[in-house]
Symmetry: C2
Subunit: 341 residues, 2 copies
DNA sequence: CCATTAGTTTAAAACGATCTAATTGTTGAC
DNA sequence: GTCAACAATTAGATCGTTTTAAACTAATGG
């Protein structure tokens, strides 16, 4: 029933250590020996015992995913992508939802890593943007990969997967401009999230390129929530000079704006165009469906995990150029935006 | 830095095995010895090494959660509740999203359990309703807990957490009846999910109690999806005799019905009342917000895990009466339902 | 007061891998 | 042909627990 490394060794006529070498693709094993061992492994259907490996090597074959994101869709997509990569590499995923604003969050993360002896960690906003967490992880020598907003790879961001929110926001804003809108408002997310800043910058750049002066009243601070969208849109539509289009920092805010417009009897998109960001499943189900930018979260998560494994696995071919993947969310035009007639 | 069980033993002046006994609260340790050991553990801040424990006892301290649920909110809530319980008991959670319709799903589950040496498993629909999975798990002797639809505890459902969808659906239907509606339609979820059947039964019971004959055309088969809601509501409103209210099997279907009503220019709730089920976050954000039934998923998950641990832990006090928890989702009235004027 | 028994405690053997250090093979240079 | 240098292999120690089986106590009964 239970096949141990010992059985494999005997079956292949080599020592235990040699089998171990093959399992961890360590060097110093002749090609034909490798084949012999592989054959024995296949024949006996040998599956290494994770616990024994962990104990002996004092490292676990699992990576952690820490999150504090109210957006369930995002988290599920991330998990999916990470798990895909984990299965491929024979790792396991430890999920750890927590409160990013907790005062001893750094200690909590360190405890988690040390207690579970994690091989690595994947960080998404807001954790990926907390310098003290990155510093602490570096100090205790744990590999980690961050998924963050950014457009240009740089050596300082060596272990990052970048999402080019700037360019995507530029494209969305441009789409609104091309429809004839010039009075375009922007509903911000949390200031702490750099994605909000990047998207704002993209919006501003697009306006600037057309020579449109930014109206400071059109930029409304807020948070990544439905309620914030309701409030923000209400505030905008009470201005003497109203915008004809709203670019919301994410779909939830956009949904809130939609809700608010309905309360005020404003026709979408005839009187007001609204665009979101993220392509959440519900962005297709609002009325009218939201124009948005699609972020391939599952793929992003996969790449992040792959990047992590490249650092984590001791004997993987590290000479692969360690380029930083950059994802540009793509524009999805739906009914919530139309020309400014 | 690293404190082993050996250190504790020496510090307390007892043998390693005695410390082990205390750690796993096994019998045959005198009270004062226990105290002595506990003191040493606290003083040295001893934390047992999970890998070594797993290896030696050939069981892991983690439970699995298998799911195939397109509803991200539900899954996240479940994870949250399960993790809460796991942390409390020093266990870890292994998540395993998969495809319930895969032909070799049983083998996949068994492989997962055996490979990860899981201490137990939590099953939600549709897995909790697949008899061959339960049978297979029983055969290999793995503890598991199912979360299923049902109102009456029975010995056959010994390791279950019940959700009384029947009563909740009865209450929602009753709410619609009290508003004066008599022509109430029902949009079903997947037939395979017993929750859909239970809710339908609750709906029918409520009508029957008022002596209202069920109109078979008002019961529309479908699935737990937005699209199904769109189609179902469209079909209903094309009938010569239209319903004045729709009870959708979950919020997604209800959102679809809402969407469809908008397409057909039907005023909600004036011309048509719509109710959902589940209290998904977005049920508050539709226009108008949805009347629904609230399911405390986090709590349900916690209880499920607690139930599992009661069976799993070898030396826990098992004499606690093993009652089956029953949750009744509660009615939440919002703007999508109003009186039939 | 010894024999019996049940209750505690212990030293040492697993558990199934990795890692260390010593051994054996092979190659190329002089 | 010998030796150095390096590659390939191995036996055995090791990781930190649990488990086994034996040894030691303390209480009970005849």
């Amino acid at each position: 029933m239970k096949v141990t490394i010992n059985d494999v060794a005997r079956h292949a006529g080599v020592s235990i250590k040699t089998v171990s070498r093959v399992m961890n693709n360590e060097p110093s094993v002749r090609k034909d020996t490798v084949d012999k061992v592989q054959a024995a492994i296949n024949e006996l259907q040998y599956q290494p015992n994770a616990a024994a490996r962990n104990l002996a090597s004092s490292r676990s074959f699992s990576i952690g995913y820490i999150y504090d994101n109210p957006n369930a869709y995002y988290v599920i997509d991330m998990q999916r992508g990470l798990l895909d990569a984990c299965r491929k590499h024979g790792y396991e995923l430890l999920i750890h939802p927590t409160n990013a604003k907790s005062p001893d969050i750094v200690q909590e993360v360190i405890d988690l890593v040390q207690h579970s002896r994690l091989a690595g960690l994947v960080l998404t906003p807001p954790f990926s943007e907390m310098p003290h967490i990155a510093a602490a992880l570096e100090k205790i020598g744990v590999h980690f990969v961050r998924i963050i907003s950014g457009s240009t790879p740089s050596p300082k961001l060596s272990n990052c997967v970048l999402i080019d929110d700037f360019t995507a926001a530029f494209k969305i804003t441009n789409h609104l401009l091309e429809l004839g809108h010039t009075d375009i408002a922007f509903l911000c997310g949390e200031e702490e999230h750099s994605s909000s800043g990047e998207r704002l910058a993209g919006y501003q750049a697009a306006l600037a390129k057309r020579g449109i002066a930014a109206n400071p009243k059109f930029i409304v601070p807020g948070s990544y929530s439905f309620e914030s969208g309701v409030k923000g849109a209400t505030k905008l539509m009470e201005l003497s000079k109203k915008p004809t289009a709203i670019f919301a920092c994410n779909d939830e805010i956009a949904a809130g704006a939609l809700f608010s417009a309905r309360l005020m009897n404003i026709a979408i998109p005839q009187q007001l165009a609204i665009a979101g960001f993220e392509n959440s499943p519900f962005s297709r189900q609002t009325w009218p469906p939201l124009t948005t930018a699609h972020q391939p979260n599952v793929t992003i998560a996969q790449q992040a995990a792959e990047l992590l494994f490249r650092h984590t696995k001791p004997n993987a071919s590290k000479n692969l150029t360690d380029k930083q993947p950059v994802f540009i969310p793509e524009l999805l035009v739906r009914e919530s935006t139309a020309s400014n007639s």
